[in-house]
């Protein structure tokens, strides 16, 4: 019962983030799988995608209905990110991810500060 409640809660919070910010679902759910449920890394990522995809489709439908989609922009991004996703998956075991995470963390903090002061 406790586990079911945990699953329902993590799903709900992931959904809220996905709809509210259009991003960030994986940032909650992957650590939950790895650290709380003890699922191996690659299975945690794969399972996260299988969950985030239906949530993203629903959020996308609402964004489309509200005219918040710029199709040419989205197509360009999709083209780049599909190719990038493939490159990223190939690089996964060739680059020290630990260092990359730290660099990425710093970039996120700088971007956040920049948005606040703009």
């Amino acid at each position: 019962m406790k586990k079911k409640l945990q699953l329902i809660l993590i799903g709900f919070l992931t959904g809220i983030l996905n709809g509210l910010f259009g991003a960030g679902g994986g940032t909650l759910i992957v650590p939950f799988f790895v650290f709380i449920l003890g699922i191996e890394d690659h299975k945690a990522h794969a399972t996260a995608i299988s969950i985030i995809l239906p949530l993203t489709i629903l959020s996308s439908i609402i964004y489309i209905k509200e005219n918040l989609i710029n199709l040419p922009l989205t197509l360009n991004i999709a083209l780049g990110s599909t190719v990038g996703g493939y490159i990223g998956a190939k690089l996964l075991y060739k680059i020290p991810i630990k260092i990359l995470r730290k660099i990425f963390g710093i970039i996120m903090i700088i971007a956040a500060v920049r948005i606040f002061i703009s």
């Binding site: 799903g11 996905n18 910010f21 609402i62 999709a78 990223g88 500060v113 948005i115």
Partner: protein, 117 residues
Amino acid sequence: MKNIIIGLLSGIISGMGIGGGTLLIPLLTIFQGIEQHVAQGANLLSFVPTAFIALIYHIKNKNIKTDIILYIIISGLIGSFIGSFISVLINSTLLKKMFAAFLLLMGIYELLSKEKK
């Protein structure tokens, strides 16, 4: 062309299992002057084809823990519905600041995160 490169960069990060959207959205709003909601929408919709391709691969390799996903997806869909509507109701400036707060928390988390032993 700039947008394809931005997509490529965030796709690479995403493919490595670090949230691509958290990079894509600030790149679009800060450097391309795209409105916050539209940047979020672009991230959402562009994730769909990439995720489909990844999912086919993961289903083939039996990487998905199917025993736990049902509860998460059902509550997640309810959350997505509520989250999307809140997002639509909030004005762009406030949403941008809220996103920045989320970004700051995520950045701190990435800096402090430990690898699983």
